[in-house]
Amino acid sequence: MNTRLALIATALLVAALVPVRSQAPQGQTILFRIIVVESPDAAQRVREQLIAGENFPALAQRLSVDATGRNGGLIGPVAITDLRGELRTALEGLRSGELSGVVRVPTGFAILKIVPSEEASAGGQSSTDSGIMGSGFANALSASGGVKYVFDISGYIETVLSLRQVRGRTDADENLPTLCELRTQLLTSAQGLVAKTLAGTGGSTATTPIDLAVTYFLKGQLHAYEGKMKEAIEAFEQGRRIAVSDANDLLPQMEQALGVAHLHKAEMENGFFHAPGERCLLSDHLTGQLGNNADVAKAIEYFTSYLKGNPDELEVRWLLNVAHMFQGTYPDKVPKAQLIPPDAFKSTEDVGRFVDVSTQSGLESFSASGGVIVDDFDNDGRFDVVTSSILSCDAMRLFKRAGNGRFVDQAEKAGLHTQLGGLNMVQTDYNNDGNLDILVLRGAWETPQRKSLLRNNGDGTFTDVTAASGLMKVSGTQAAVWVDIDNDGRLDLFVGNESSPAQLFRNKPDGTFEDIAEKAGVNKSAFSKGVTAADYDNDGWQDLYVSNLGGTNFLYHNNRNGTFTELGEGAGVPGPGQGFPTWFFDYDNDGYPDIFVGSFVTSVDEVARAYLKMPRNGNTLKLYRNLGDGSFQDVTRQVGLDRVMMVMGANFGDIDNDGFLDLYLGTGNPSYAAIVGSKLFRNKDGKSFVDVTSSSGTGELHKGHGVAFADLDHDGDEEIVFKVGGATPGDAHALRLFENPGHRNDWLTVKLVGVKSNRAAIGARIIVTVDGPSGRRSFHRTVSPGGSFGASPLQQHIGLGSNARNVDVEVWWPTSNTRQRFSNVGKNQFIEVTEFADNYKPLQRGPLPLRVSNVNGTSK
């Protein structure tokens, strides 16, 4: 074992000796000093000098190799929970003025001292350098720098690398069939080259045992990508043998790879992905019903062997527990030291159990990660479902809802079967013709690719109008929002891109688009993963919010003159630093749109920490409450959402019609080790969010992307449509349609039709006010597809709580700045409100079963 690994191992050992404790209370901040030197011996000598009475700041200035040295080593005030694990451990239990022992940090070996409060109030404030929580600090000494990232077994990045290398040599960026063909060729060619190398017939050969083991690892990855797990396992096994004989340091990684590969093989071969049913729903009694499966047994063997040498690796510990769940031997057969107790998965509240009825309804979409839109594309009063897949050879699917309730794929008839690839999609009515159009987003994580704007012709067909509309410029994106930024009644398009400037396409009267991002001041470049729009200051003009991975988020305030001003940090909405899905919603129904941002921390370790109630390192989700004065307050912890997750597809809806919007958060990462489970959080009166994953039966273990909430059976409650699947062909999965079990609360569904405003009414506000058990109260909704990854219907489903009486509906149309008010509207019905109309119109929506036994439509 080399020195560095030995040191890391020591650090881990030290961490393991610390008893598990829950996080320190929020708001407990600390001011301390640190000296970092380059060896443990030197640190010990520094400690002795300090004990002998040397001045800490002076010594820090003279000896510390850390950037804080010139500042006398001063750090803070910071929340203890925001510090690296090693520092947390050292500081907890330390009295003011006392010196810590020697602590390993990324820049060396440290001695710490808590600054006494007198000194803090005297010196701490006068120093302009105190409170150093900048980017570097956040990285080097903050908790987030201690995150352990997921171990990748998927081959995804390998295939993307091959694509990047040939980019620009073909028209694949713009031509979808070419891209499909190219990627197929690249994979075959890479596999061939690796095989040649290993056979010694290629141009290059591996020169060291590590290189040889790594080459086998590469071979395994390329097989894992396709889901050929048997071949992948053979290659990893070769790598393991080399590790055993000549490269011992690599052994843990090889064992981990083999464990993950065996587990994945067992899942694939036993229908976990094709027909998951009740299996793989994370709960205290998850059972995969595999019994004595040889692959699961192998996985357990490898994980167990790995944990012998590395007992504190929580990712493998998590996977060991999952393997036992699959085998049906959880929790009894999980070694006590490695057990994640069943209690950790229990829900404290019960909202009834959702049931997956995707198969019974005909909504059978089996593919890799992708987008989902639920909306009515043929204006027949029934919601259809559109799905896409990131894979460049996979076609879009359009599931039309037949009169008997069954979903029937009509993509070919609609001309959508030639639309290949697309990680995300969003609906719109860009030409105000009353037929919903589709925008497909591509290139995210990979290489810049074309988008597709698909015009709904109103006759069951779609036409690709991307080029004619002026939207052909390629970019890597999965984030777009349709929004009327200039209140001209036409929906404009804002696109967030990965590492290139954002685009703002103004919808011109002639039906084409013009990119005005630069002129409008919204063209900042970042690794943007989510964009959303709403009028957060209620001035009648739509604002934009951009969620960025690896940077701060942007809040673009609409200046009402075609330009925007970026106010993110000042307004208090900088995001988690690893932002992903995002949306505006009024979670507390106070009339001001709040902001949710999912953090994408790709760490199984962090997820396990949450279940084990160990301190987190990664950045949490963010909920920003709109204070109504142009600023926001971070209420994440207050409402119980301070969780670290790897959130991808996500959306909101009201699962129990209490009028408060709940959250469903899917997870994602290409690695087959990244199986951590989705979460359903119930919003309790706009005050807190309660985890009801386990009791609701919605904790799909596998990755999921597009999420939509929609009342698909017209019974007045919302189902959850969840496009499950990872980024590779080997990680494809069936879509989930979780049917809502129902409850007794009242509801109202409102469809808006714009006249002067955009016809789809995006951006219009609905306020429903009712008398309920706790008095008169209002529920606020803005017309939108919801979150940035997955699109719910534009028609708004609004829960009214129990025994709602005297239901009043108000609609505010920002474009015309007009308001319509309707009193004593009947509850538990579907209504349509057309802009300027004197009356609303009830919509006839008969029951529509989700369990339809066959195509002829016998309802079960």
Binding site: A42, L193, G551
Partner: protein
Amino acid sequence: MERPNSYCAGLTLALLAAMAISVVAQQPVRHSMSGMVLKVDASQKSVVISHDAVSGVMPAMTMPFEVRDVKELNGLVPGTIVSFTLVLTKDVGYIERVKTIRYQSVEQDPIAARRLRLLANLTGGDRKTLSIGQAVPDFTLINQSRQPVSLAQFKGKVVGVNFIYTSCVLPQFCYRVANHFGVVRDRFKERMGRDLVLLTITFDPARDTPDVLAQYAKQWKADAKTWHFMTGNAADVERVCGLFGVDFFADEGLMSHSVRTAVIDRQGVLVANIEGNRYTAAQLGDLVETALKR
């Protein structure tokens, strides 16, 4: 100070002698040691090493060592990390069993970068990475003050180069090596700009704009005239990284990358190209000092 800023033969001999005397027996005493090679002189059978501390025996410092067999010096260049055995008898001290420690981190990220490099080489052809002793071709990038900066303008000065990206989530890599430059800058405060220039180059130019780099550089209060944080268009950055053997692969918003720190002498010749993060700022400083003295 914890460690002498320069090595001194007299002091070294005295120290070695003192250590040898402390040995009662006539048997030679052996210490297993490690460190970074600063200078190799085959004709004198001598190598200067900035060695790590030997716990309880001696602190980390820079020393010239002799070898008995000149073959021990084969393959050693400044920046090489070595392990060796110090042999002390009553009269003499020398080193033997000099072994190059190839940077072979099996940590997740470096190993992923290695796997992807292997694939890239197979599918896209090898790159031309500079060898020690080669002249570094000129390149021009933009610094944190948005000024174009060319390597050629530093002729006559020693140039240190390292590579980072500011969104790096693993502080033991990017942050650690950047911080090492902070320590070197402090050590050679008076010579910065006059004799020594530091370049910290991002391999994530899409995100690391001059403004972002300026913000990052603030942590060390880097003077943009002497410590340049550099970015440029993707092709230029890739070429410069290629020269020094820096691998970087975008992966889910992060980068799998290798870690390199190079030293270029006053004539523009590459004198060291350290791989990995397993060296100390003091060793890097010693390496720079050696280059400054040439």
